[in-house]
């Protein structure tokens, strides 16, 4: 990667001042979380695929540390250090370096060392209001920096749960679909296999053991599994407990007994996953899908967000929605968004963010905390403003 020029440095500094002034005027406190972070928290949150892109190292004391791959987790940790009660409402903004290994070598749109400017807000009860304000502030900062040509792409990981409810799935089916949703490749396969008879699945567990299990009598079920292990001279080792194993066997047993998933439910889920297009049209499409399942709540949330966005002065013609979007992002739990420009294309969004209510728990809060945030990739923003030439 070529060294940063003095011209880039000055332009980025000036741009950062513009972005930060938009954030601070909107009531966000400027903070500077630590660049060097404990690797554990990050690795627990991001999973192994982003870990391959995180610079992890060991310090002379043997502690495993990393260069932060983003500023969201460091801001959560900063919030936890400041407030005994993690649910204390707070709004932060930042501009600082983040680091990600680039497998194909760094280029201008994918530098391994880049600056993120962003906002995070914690503890807001008004969910859609907090989400839309976050999106609107990020976009107004981008416009203030000089970018006119942008489009906004939305997704909603919470909406999928509502679709599953509407499909009339049992809690167990729902849980399995929720788990599978974050893995797009496996998802279509599971959808197919769930629709088939589960009895055809190969398994090493004898039917007699499965038949002796009963969810209503957990103690007896665990005893049956323990008895089977004993009889087969298999020792129980490791951190996965007898209860964990029994739980999963109960799921397997129920899969076998229950038979295939209802075809109309499969069709409903399949047609939701395919929804993509202009936000208003997508809303109408989701409405049609949900109407035949007689559920309105999820759609109300969707429409409310669009109305709030329009109120905030966002031109809805620039907004698209894709049901698939956000599935593979590590820690989001609800709304997800990204801001794109034609110049840089879909592979290089200039900003992104969303709702991540579960992150604070993983970072050490012990409870879920309502959280929404968004960050701007400042090098890309500068490149987009300059017309793609960097």
């Amino acid at each position: 990667m070529t060294a940063e020029t003095a011209r880039d440095f000055e332009a980025l500094e000036a741009q950062a001042q513009t972005l930060m002034s938009v954030f601070t005027k909107a009531g966000y406190d400027a903070v500077a979380p630590a660049i060097i972070q404990p690797a554990d928290v990050f690795l627990d949150v991001i999973g192994e695929s982003l870990r391959a892109r995180t610079y992890v190292f060991t310090d002379p004391d043997g502690a495993e540390l990393c260069l932060r791959p983003d500023l969201t987790v460091p801001t959560c940790r900063l919030h936890l250090a400041r407030h005994a009660d993690p649910r204390t409402p707070a709004r932060y903004c930042y501009n600082g370096a983040a680091f990600r290994f680039q497998p194909q070598g760094a280029d201008a749109a994918h530098p391994r060392e880049f600056r993120q400017a962003g906002i995070e807000r914690f503890g807001d009860a008004e969910r859609e209001v907090a989400e839309v304000e976050t999106v609107a502030i990020v976009i107004s900062a981008i416009e203030r920096a000089g970018l006119r040509d942008w489009s906004l792409r939305l997704g909603d990981l919470g909406l999928f749960s509502s679709v599953l409810d509407a499909a009339g799935l049992t809690p167990r089916w729902k849980k399995r679909f929720d788990d599978a949703f974050s893995r797009p490749l496996a998802f279509r396969d599971s959808l197919k296999s769930f629709a088939m008879d589960a009895r055809t699945r190969p398994l090493t567990v004898p039917d007699s053991l499965l038949a002796s299990l009963n969810r209503k009598d957990r103690a007896q079920s665990e005893a049956a599994v323990a008895g089977y292990l004993d009889q087969s001279a298999i020792e129980l080792i490791g951190t996965r407990s007898l209860a964990d194993i029994t739980d999963h066997l109960l799921d397997i047993a129920e899969d076998r007994d229950e038979g295939p998933l209802d075809a109309s439910a499969v069709a409903l889920i399949g047609s939701y996953v395919d929804v993509a297009g202009p936000a208003r049209t997508a809303g109408i499409r989701i409405g049609e899908i949900m109407k035949c399942a007689r559920s309105a709540t999820a759609l109300e949330i969707y429409d409310r967000r669009l109305a709030l966005l329009a109120n905030a002065g966002i031109d809805l013609d620039r907004v698209t929605f894709a049901a698939e979007f956000g599935r593979t992002l590590a820690y989001y739990t609800g709304l997800v968004f990204e801001v794109r420009t034609k110049v840089l294309g879909s592979q290089s969004p200039i900003a992104g963010g969303g709702r991540y209510d579960g992150l604070m728990r993983v970072a050490g809060a012990g409870v879920d905390v309502p959280a929404v945030g968004g960050a701007i990739h400042t090098e890309r923003l500068l490149a987009a403003i300059r017309g793609g030439a960097s």
């Binding site: 192994e48 695929s49 893995r183 090493t204 996965r240 194993i245």
Partner: protein, 239 residues
């Protein structure tokens, strides 16, 4: 004529088997100078320099091109050279040093027999224990590539320097990726290989380095060595 450098293992069973294999092919490998030295020669091939190296050094030397040929395990080459098929020539499987790189789980996980079962238990496990399934291994790259190809991502790798097979019982990892020959060590530690959990069936290979400086003469010499060794690979491949 310029000289060809051949790297062979400097100790242990692999060194013995390599020397025996050359002897069966009618090639006498001997150390130059005292017995604990690290240079050698082949009586019958005057233009070959033999370099005794540790297995890890052989992989590095093949990668950088500081040797022309090297004998080591395929597992180490695939783990440590991400674009091995581009940079390394796989000249010949040698019929010894067998080791399978496998995914093994506690045998008591009677509900888990395939990688897709792992995927199924990963999120409930995280819900119950507050962390990802941990995979102890020294094959971090092979593991990542294998699981990524299967679409499984809900795990964390724990770097393991030795005694990997003890990690699940010790509670420092839930499952392992490690090498096994007979499966005996795995069984003794209460572990079982997943049905689709064989990542690589490895054995010792004669490798060439595409990054080394080659001449027509050296390529001919390399073919001679490879063909002579072919004579001493057992008919059934040694398995």
């Amino acid at each position: 004529m310029s000289r060809l450098t051949l790297a062979i293992p400097s100790k242990g069973r692999l060194m013995e088997q390599t020397t025996e294999m050359f002897a069966r092919a009618g090639l006498t490998v001997r150390k130059v100078g005292h017995a604990r030295g690290y240079r050698g020669e082949i009586d019958e091939l005057a233009d070959v320099d033999v370099a005794y190296m540790s297995s890890a050094e052989i992989v590095d030397a093949l990668k950088s091109g500081s040797v022309h040929l090297g004998i080591t395990g395929e597992d180490l080459v695939r783990e440590n050279i991400s674009d091995a098929d581009v940079r390394i020539g796989f000249l010949r499987k040698l019929g010894f040093g067998f080791a399978d790189v496998v995914v093994a789980v506690p045998a008591c996980w009677i509900d888990v027999t395939t990688v897709s079962d792992l995927e199924e238990i990963a999120i409930p496990f995280r819900r119950a224990h507050g962390r990802w399934l941990r995979v102890a291994t020294k094959y971090r790259n092979l593991t990542r590539r294998f699981f990524a190809a299967k679409g499984f991502g809900d795990y964390r790798i724990i770097e393991s320097a030795g005694a990997t097979e003890g990690a699940p019982a010790a509670g420092t990892a839930e499952l392992i990726v490690d090498i096994t020959t007979t499966g005996e060590t795995l069984r003794a530690n209460g572990l079982r290989v997943l049905r689709d959990g064989v990542i690589l069936k490895s054995e010792a290979n004669l490798f060439s380095s595409r990054g080394a400086t080659w001449t027509v003469g050296l390529e001919k010499l390399s073919s001679t060595i490879s063909e002579r060794l072919a004579l001493s690979v057992p008919a059934n491949g040694g398995r």
